[in-house]
Symmetry: C2
Subunit: 121 residues, 2 copies
């Protein structure tokens, strides 16, 4: 029932590319993550992913275009779209995706942290 | 594909208690609204509602308690919980709820603006 303050939650951890779970509603999980550098090309076959940029800048590359997101921007990565997130400097994002969404979608790498490795904070 | 900038979208309208739709993902609609004053007691039988406060302050009253939300706070109103939003001064919120969620849930008043009256911006 308490308010969930986004910035306070971001102060609780430092790791990059390691989503933390804040809440669940309608089968969707609200997560936050700190991003820096390049991630991996991947797609989520059946799940859209909502991104909201809290701090910094994120480039979302697609196979045929890309979009640059700044603090205060939202963006939906459509299901099945191959995407590659890149943050030149540290970037804080909130993301919302369905329970059970695989972190790196259709690929598995050493960067993969699926839901059983994502802690609630 | 373009970024959706929350603050720019808020500058496009002035009415209170009149949600505008920004996007859809996984059967959920992303909406923004300006709130001021008291709304109406209502509940959504089957839908959780996510609130994120962009500016100002919102008090969410429940029948047996209440929570005060400030800019940067999130809060989930659980399905079937009767709630009564109050904003003493103008408050800007983003909310996410399933497609088809009734604005004032189980009650209909002159304040009710269901999805067919909610425009995309």
């Amino acid at each position: 029932m308490l308010p969930i303050n986004l910035k306070e939650k971001f102060e609780l951890f430092d790791e990059y590319w390691s989503p933390k779970i804040l809440g669940e509603f309608n089968g969707q999980l609200i997560k936050i993550a700190k991003l820096k550098g390049e991630f991996v090309w991947h797609a989520h076959e059946n799940e859209d992913e909502l991104f909201y940029i809290v701090k910094g800048e994120l480039e979302m590359r697609y196979r045929d275009n890309s979009v640059t997101l700044k603090a205060g921007d939202m963006h939906i990565v459509p299901k099945a779209a191959e995407h590659f997130p890149v943050a030149e400097k540290e970037c804080w994002v909130m993301l919302i995706e369905p329970v059970g969404t695989a972190h790196t979608g259709d690929v598995v790498t050493e960067r993969t942290k699926n839901e059983d490795q994502q802690e609630w904070i």
